[in-house]
Point group: C3
């Protein structure tokens, strides 16, 4: 059987809210080391990878590896019924066809149980190579969200250029063009507002804003978003969930000129 | 003539907001003992009963019994023009064809007068028997609203089961099923959060969530909702309006099996 | 070249939000004395006049008179990308075909540049005579906004009547009629809430509520709205922008009876 209890249930709500518009249904994989998910978005352009470590749960038990297929919209409906301060316990019998979500209010005067029917979902587990990246930018998650939202009002794609001191986000559209530059800023006194750049090589890549906007729905999970970029590789956008795990998104860059790729 | 002044006009706004989606138009009955309304919802499934006592008004005068037909949507439009801290006076001449709403701001620098045309509405006054109930549950109004809203995302009906120590709300839908249990909880230190159960006999009845959701729009009127249930009787959902009166809703239970009813 | 820097960039955002639903596109005129705009709304019924004085800017340079045509919806999109506490600099080369908006965050760690394409717009500059008015009413801007919004739920036009002690707003519609009266109120201790009336002659004029509602979108710019009325003249609704300038709207009264006009 599988049973896992998260004292801060709000975290699970935020994870599902962050991915439910990108992914229609997915298998959640549970094993002794933790609870994870890996799925392509419905248009097969981006990849979502979630992992919550067993030791991040207050209580975690998984007798044998199990893969539970869920419709994200249904899961979201159920988790919306949890209060922000409820503890959430997930439970499933081996070979069961449902997963139970139990919500307990802090003073135990309210106890809710929701059974969600599981689905059979075909999926292949993709091996994600553990790449080294040319440039890593760690910036406030809300700032990243704001930037991709703002640029989306002007254009469809964003060119992200990282140099030693700054990261620049640029777009072009019918009404004109836009460039937003964030300077490196260690902000020792306000660590939540720091922007840190770690670079081996300057890099400049172009991405569809639509997907970055979806990724940015993970903003409530973390103070910072971490962008990892390398020439010709998908960008990795990471949200660290303190003490529990991480939610990561991958998106291939737009290639403007086929020939230049072959160099 | 009829004239009644409510220092806390916001209360009248809340009453109308609570019933305007359920009832299209209705007669408001005024007599020397108070201001009341009784009406079936537009689909003739539930019943609304409002009563505001004469002594709950700052000033109240009603020379002869009068029944004033109003379109709730129009009444709501007008009351939305009152500020939350305005005093509201209602006035109508005998045999007049309008009712006047006067809004006074606390410092009297703004005075508004709205005349609403009255309508002729056919209605029969239903005698509501003063039943004894098997079970009475008094729970925080916001909690009740939350529960029926949450369950509506899963199913269409709710089974309410009351035992000595707890009330349970259950539903079933396409994606799975849900059960929310609230334990008795006197909460002596936080009386607004108490859940109190008074029971002669355990009872379990099923209702359409759609109507309970409408009733719950009365939440701003009161700290608690009171549910009164008896086998084979409509549920009574009551909101007490401190020092002024009450708003009550009646809804017949769903009968799952004709035969079991005949026992 | 033209270059102007506004430390409180939020002000520019508010100006554009206030007029963008009224005006589709317009020429902004810059000369050594300041930055201004004058335009009829798209249905040619009301007139908008904005003026921001050169000395209201932190930095202002305008080498030669220039008229820059912009689509208000595009301008609004760009200004929405500025944070509330950003400084905004506008820049345009002589004979350039774009205007650049530069947003700087207070601690300079974020710098955004948006280039907006300019348009050729035919417009004639109307001479607005500097009228004397029979009555001037200065009332809290939020109060004025509230009144025209409330009355719009009842009727289409408002009769504004000013006497020595009060201003009255009245409307009539299908469901009934409404009158809101605001008394003169110097409010020495709360100057933001004062209502002041200055009158040579009592005046009563009728206007389309739809336009007054649009004008009231300027509410965030100023604590007060100033209404200036004279018989047979358009109403002037003014919002003073402290230390920088003003935004003014003109709207012709409705004439109910041709004959009475000829007296």
């Amino acid at each position: 059987m599988f049973e896992a209890r998260l004292a801060q249930g709000a975290l699970l709500k935020k994870v599902v809210e962050a991915i439910k518009d990108l992914i229609e249904d997915a298998n959640f994989d549970c094993n002794s080391s933790g609870f994870s998910l890996q799925a392509m978005d419905s248009s097969h352009v981006s990849l979502v990878a979630l992992s919550l470590r067993a030791d991040g749960f207050e209580h975690y038990r998984c007798d044998r590896n199990v893969s539970m297929g869920m419709k994200l919209a249904s899961l979201s409906k159920i988790l919306k019924c949890a209060n922000g301060d409820d503890a959430i316990t997930m439970k499933s019998e081996d070979n069961g066809d449902t997963i139970t979500f139990m919500f307990e209010s802090p003073e135990q005067e309210r106890l809710s149980e929701f059974d969600l029917k599981l689905m059979d979902i075909d999926s292949e587990h993709l091996g994600i190579p553990d790449n080294e990246y040319d440039a890593t930018v760690k910036l406030p998650a809300a700032e990243f969200q704001r930037i991709v939202k703002d640029l989306s009002t002007i254009g469809d794609t964003v060119e992200i250029s990282v140099t030693k001191d700054a990261v620049k986000f640029g777009t072009t559209g019918d009404i004109g063009n836009a460039n937003i530059m964030c300077r490196q800023n260690k902000a020792a006194d306000k660590p939540d507002e720091s922007t840190e750049i770690d670079i081996n090589e300057a890099v400049s890549l172009t991405f569809a804003l639509r997907y970055l906007n979806s990724f940015a729905k993970a903003t409530p999970l973390s103070t910072h978003a971490v962008l990892k970029l390398s020439k010709e590789l998908p960008i990795l956008v990471e949200y660290h969930i303190p003490e529990v795990g991480r939610l990561a998104f991958y998106l291939a860059p737009k290639i403007e000129d086929e020939d230049s790729m072959r160099d």
